[in-house]
């Protein structure tokens, strides 16, 4: 049964990918959606078993690579952590499959799209259920590949193709660190199996490795290298640039891959490796700093963007930052909790925005929308739920998970913890502002679209709305229902040994004023946003024009793309040309074969001149030689 959870999406993908033409569009849609849904139901059963019976298992399916001491299996590890991920991945994935039937109804390549979605689900499941680092890497690159395919799904759009390559290559940068981390693990322990590695970690606490003459603590290096991989996949600052561009892909893709599942793989990696990270204070601090910087950075950028999907993309980036600093302060279970709730409300928001885009016939600029809430009542209501949940409005799911992150950061009691808590609160406020800005500009105010009349906008079909309803249920209730399980007092009863705490988490409570601060800010932000973006629309523009440099800085996403283009992309191309035209052609060929043959040609031309054919010249040369020889013999 467990294996079929992974196998069903793969089978679905193969059927739809190879036989899509044969069985027709509708059948591929039905088969893929059905098989992935079965997989989701089975996952739910597994999670139920895990919760009730503390079910754990490690199924070895086959050998993959066995070379010398290296032994890698195709495997399926089931514990609390992977069971949660199984449910998140398969449930969101099955809803997205169903939604796509409606969303992609005008697309000529439906079977291909469904095949990619199922293939992605398979790769993601391989990632989360692995019992070793190499299979994890397989899933890691596999989801990257599917993401590449899906971002570039509309292959005629040049921007989509470029974004797809960008996503893959930036992720490769992360994978570079990740792979080195795996090599280092194998070098130190001679195994890549989680449980064996985790057992050996305490024995190398004081071990140093030396790189370029610098001594570095071995555990710190493992953690930091793995974290580079996590940064790439989870779009953390410096390696985040691919995520906003990835919005070139169809919206269901953004919901599944770039919000709910793939981008959280980095968080999952850190949580999975908690037995390693717990021993590296340095790495945890780095994670905290990177996480909170990303959370803040992305939120500031989201405030000024005008593309509805890019705003949500930056929001995802920012929320992932929250999850990371939660792990950084040691609250792995809270990070998982936020990952869990975030999957529902962010997928909801993305699919909702897809519904809006659908209604406006592929318009994505929120300045060209507005005033349609009566025309799209269901979408509107569902997106309100998503927004409330995201901003952490009291008693919706985001409220429980996000506030818990801020509290635990505060309770950590060290400098980075306080900073993180502070940044967390500011970011929560910013999140609220940009989310409501999106809502108000999209649904309220005047109708601003010049291309289509307001009468032409229409609510989405039922097949797109039903998945939204399911997700909205998650967005409302997931927090309250699962709070005890994820972060309650009997926390270790559920997590067992899938999460490791070196020091138990603090069970104190932060002061009351601290607890109510965030919710109050979040609630206050709604009227503020309403005033700014509906009532007094000139004010934001005035603020922008007064602070032009700051506004441009934010609008251009802190100039990261321009910076990378100038420092990495262009120099790489120049270097390529230089190495080719100068090194290979001028130097190597010039002095090598071409130079040699030219030289020989020259010599033979000279030698030619000797063979003039005149007897007197030959005689003269002979005479010279003869006299030289004679002189030599006499002198000797």
């Amino acid at each position: 049964m467990e294996i079929s959870i992974i196998a069903l999406p793969l089978i679905a993908s193969i059927i739809s990918g190879f036989f899509g033409k044969l069985i027709g569009d509708r059948n591929s849609e039905i088969i893929t959606s059905l098989l992935v849904s079965i997989s989701a139901i089975l996952s739910a059963l597994v999670l139920y078993q895990v919760i009730i019976n503390n079910y754990q298992d490690n199924i070895v399916i086959a050998t993959w690579i066995s070379s010398g001491a290296l032994d890698v299996n195709w495997s399926m590890k089931i514990d609390s952590l992977s069971a949660i991920m199984l449910v998140v991945v398969t449930s969101v994935s099955s809803l997205v499959h169903i939604y796509s039937i409606g969303y992609m109804s005008h697309d000529p390549h439906k079977p291909r799209f469904m095949a990619y979605l199922s293939l992605f689900t398979f790769a993601m499941l391989m990632l989360v259920t692995s019992d070793n680092f190499v299979q994890l890497f397989f899933g890691w690159e596999g989801v990257g590949l599917c993401s590449y395919f899906l971002i570039g799904f509309w292959f005629k759009k040049d921007s989509a193709n470029t974004a797809a390559i960008k996503a893959f290559v930036v992720n490769r940068v992360g994978d570079f660190g990740f792979a080195l981390g795996i090599f280092l693990i194998f070098y130190l322990f001679g195994t890549v199996n989680y449980s064996e590695v985790f057992k050996l970690i305490p024995s190398i606490i004081d071990k140093n490795i030396s790189f370029l003459g610098i001594e570095i603590n071995a555990i710190d290096s493992i953690c930091l290298l793995l974290f580079i991989g996590a940064m790439g996949k989870s779009a953390q600052i410096l390696l985040h640039t691919w995520l906003p561009d990835a919005m070139e892909g169809p919206t269901p893709v953004s919901a599944l891959i770039h919000a709910a599942t793939m981008v959280t793989a980095g968080v999952f990696l850190v949580v999975r490796c908690s037995p390693i990270y717990e021993y590296s204070e340095l790495a945890l601090n780095v994670i905290t700093i990177v996480g909170m910087s990303t959370a803040f950075f992305a939120a500031t950028v989201a405030i000024v963007q005008t593309d509805i999907k890019k705003i949500i993309a930056y929001s995802t980036c920012s929320q992932l930052g929250y999850m990371f600093f939660a792990t950084g302060v040691g609250a792995y279970n809270v990070a998982m909790f936020h990952l869990f709730t975030h999957a529902f409300f962010k997928a909801l928001l993305f699919l909702g925005s897809g519904s809006v885009i659908h209604a406006f016939k592929d318009e994505q600029n929120i300045n060209n929308m507005g005033g349609v809430w009566k025309k799209l009542p269901y979408t509107y209501a569902l997106m309100i739920i998503g927004t409330l949940a995201l901003t952490g409005f009291p008693f919706l799911s985001g409220f429980y998970s996000k506030d818990a992150i801020i509290e635990f950061a505060y309770l950590r009691g060290n400098t980075s913890g306080y900073y993180a808590a502070g940044i967390g609160i500011i970011t929560a406020f910013l999140t609220s502002i940009y989310s409501w800005r999106l809502m108000f500009k999209t649904f309220h105010g005047d109708y601003n679209n010049k291309d289509i009349k307001i009468e032409e906008t229409h609510e989405s079909p039922l097949i797109m709305l039903i998945p939204l309803v399911f997700l909205s249920l998650g967005a409302i209730f997931a927090g309250y229902t699962f709070k005890e399980l994820f972060i309650g007092h009997g926390v270790n009863n559920f997590w067992q040994d899938s999460i490791f705490f070196l020091k138990p988490l603090s069970i104190e409570h932060p002061p009351f004023w601290f607890l109510v601060l965030t919710p109050i800010l979040v609630i206050l932000s709604i009227p503020i946003a309403y005033y700014l973006f509906v009532k007094n629309k000139n004010l934001p523009e005035r603020i922008a024009s007064v602070n032009k440099p700051l506004y441009n800085f934010l609008l251009n996403k802190w100039y990261f793309d321009e910076f990378y283009d100038a420092t990495i992309v262009k120099p790489s191309k120049k270097l390529g040309i230089f190495l080719w035209k100068f090194f290979d052609i001028k130097l190597i060929d010039g002095f090598g074969p071409d130079g040699l043959s030219a030289f020989i040609k020259k010599c033979s031309l000279k030698a030619n001149k000797f063979q003039s054919g005149y007897i007197y010249q030959y005689a003269f040369i002979m005479l010279l030689g003869f006299s030289a020889l004679l002189t030599f013999l006499i002198v000797k």
Binding site: A62, I65, G68, G152, V169, F176, G576, G592
Partner: protein, 493 residues
């Protein structure tokens, strides 16, 4: 004596070639000629599979040995195989029939001579991988270049003569030194029998020079930086089948030679020169990857990527780690499949549009979808995606390298990033995007034989990506014993 299976393998293609020679090559006879060649190569392939079945994986001893006196007291014709050689033999016999099928209307003149060249080359290549006498090895090794030289020089593109000579000049230089080294080995040890030399060992004071002489030959053929510049030119001018043979098999002779001779005969020198090889390998990986990024000619791009991939191979071999060497062999097999497929992919569009320039194409996916799918698969294998054979090789090599030297592994891993960039960018420019060049609309998708060839290459690429066990278990014992002996030799002195 048992049935001389190795000699049969070596001779079979030549016998086919011999028949072809006497087949009247009229225009209408083209089909017969092709069938004869194909039949010969297929028989050879099945015989080699039979050999693999008979092969005993549990020992590193040479098997199927045949030993005959050739020149009394001087040279013995000695052949035999171990786990290291057998996979290369199978690669050779597997690629050759595919090459023969791929020969189509693009070879218009002297078809039967072309096929003769291919078959003769197959004979020589099999000979290279199973000879156990240095002189015999040398003869096969060098003779193999002659058919390739002819393939480029006669059936090549417009600059074929320049390329053929460049190819010849480079390889000759290395070869001469290797010949000198083989003669000196005979003087020093009194034999050129590899098995005996393994037992006797070679005096440490001679090893360095001898190693360098062998190196100069192998480095050119690998090709290692900076003696790689013949390869892009040779590929660009060679006809598709020639490129395939060159990339898939010819380049592997050197990698095989490094393992069999450099490590096997000169362990002390190998240890001394390891940093040197590392340096050249990482330069090859990084430099040629950047160069590949900027190529405008598809074949040149793949040729440069071959240099980078072979850089991984040489790096892995000299790690002297189980993972490293096994990775190198898998990488060579994988590169044999994948680069062959990529050159065939270029051949497919070249046959239709007569252009290798990337800028000619764009938007092919909607016109020739089957081609696009297979091309994508091989692109991914070339950039080392997990689940393809390319990953297993690269990953094991880097893992081995990391054990030996952090810095080298870090730099080499960096090459993997650029690898993804140039392969995906190539694919994007050829396959995706808007269809601008209207002439492309008339392109037809893969015909049956093209589809068959590429599928034949795709299956092992994926199979060994998910389940490389058949490869690894074949080479495992031979390599672990090789490493053992190597380390014993080091400590012995």
């Amino acid at each position: 004596m048992n049935f001389p299976i190795l000699s049969s393998l070596i001779l079979l293609p030549s016998i086919g070639a011999f028949f072809l020679f006497f087949t009247k090559s009229k225009k209408e006879d083209n089909k017969t000629v092709k069938y004869v060649a194909l039949f010969t190569s297929l028989v050879t392939f099945f015989l080699s599979i039979y050999l693999w079945i008979l092969f005993d994986q549990s020992t590193s001893e040479f098997q199927f040995i045949e030993d005959r006196v050739w020149i009394e007291g001087l040279i013995n014709y000695k052949v035999g195989i171990d786990g290291i050689s057998i996979l290369f033999i199978i690669l050779t016999t597997f690629i050759t029939p595919l090459c023969i099928i791929s020969v189509n209307n693009s070879i218009q003149k002297r078809l039967s001579e072309f096929l003769i060249a291919i078959l003769i080359m197959e004979s020589f290549m099999i000979g290279v991988f199973c000879s156990l006498d240095l002189v015999v090895f040398y003869l096969f090794f060098e003779a193999g270049l002659i058919p390739m030289f002819l393939i480029i020089g006669i059936w090549g593109g417009s600059r074929r003569v320049y390329s053929a000579f460049k190819f010849f000049l480079y390889t000759l230089l290395g070869s001469v030194l290797m010949l000198v080294a083989i003669i000196s080995i005979y003087w020093i040890s009194g034999t050129t029998d590899v098995v005996k030399l393994y037992e006797l060992g070679i005096d440490a004071k001679y090893q360095n020079l001898l190693w360098l002489a062998f190196f100069s030959s192998f480095a050119v053929k690998t090709p290692m930086w900076p003696v790689h510049t013949w390869l892009p030119d040779a590929h660009v001018e060679a006809p598709t089948a020639g490129s395939v043979l060159l990339a898939a098999i010819l380049l592997k002779m050197a990698g095989y030679g490094f393992i069999r001779f450099s490590l096997g005969l000169f362990p002390i020198a190998s240890e001394i020169f390891t940093p040197f090889i590392y340096t050249l390998s990482v330069i090859a990986i990084i430099f040629t990857s950047f160069i590949a990024l900027m190529q405008e000619d598809m074949k040149k791009l793949i040729a440069y990527s071959s240099v980078a991939h072979m850089g991984f191979v040489t790096l892995g071999i000299f790690t002297i780690q189980q993972q490293g060497i096994e990775g190198s062999i898998i990488q060579m097999i994988s590169h044999g499949l994948v680069s062959a497929a990529l050159f065939l992919c270029v051949g497919v569009v070249y046959d239709r549009m007569h252009s290798r320039l990337i800028s000619t194409y764009g938007g092919l996916v909607s016109i020739i979808p089957k081609y696009s799918v297979l091309f994508m698969l091989f692109t991914l294998a070339a950039l080392g995606l997990p689940g393809t054979s390319g990953f297993v090789g690269e990953f094991l090599i880097l893992m081995g390298a990391f054990k030996d030297n952090f810095l080298v592994a870090v730099i080499a891993s960096f090459g993997v990033i650029i690898g993804a960039a140039y392969m995906l960018w190539l694919y994007k420019r050829v396959i995706f995007g808007k269809l601008i060049n209207q002439d492309l609309k008339q392109m037809i998708d893969l015909n049956k034989s093209e589809l068959f060839i590429l599928t034949c290459l795709a299956i092992p690429t994926l199979l060994f990506g998910f389940y490389p066990e058949p490869l690894i278990s074949t080479i495992e014992v031979s390599i672990s014993d090789l490493i053992k002996v190597y380390n014993m030799n080091l400590t012995g002195y």
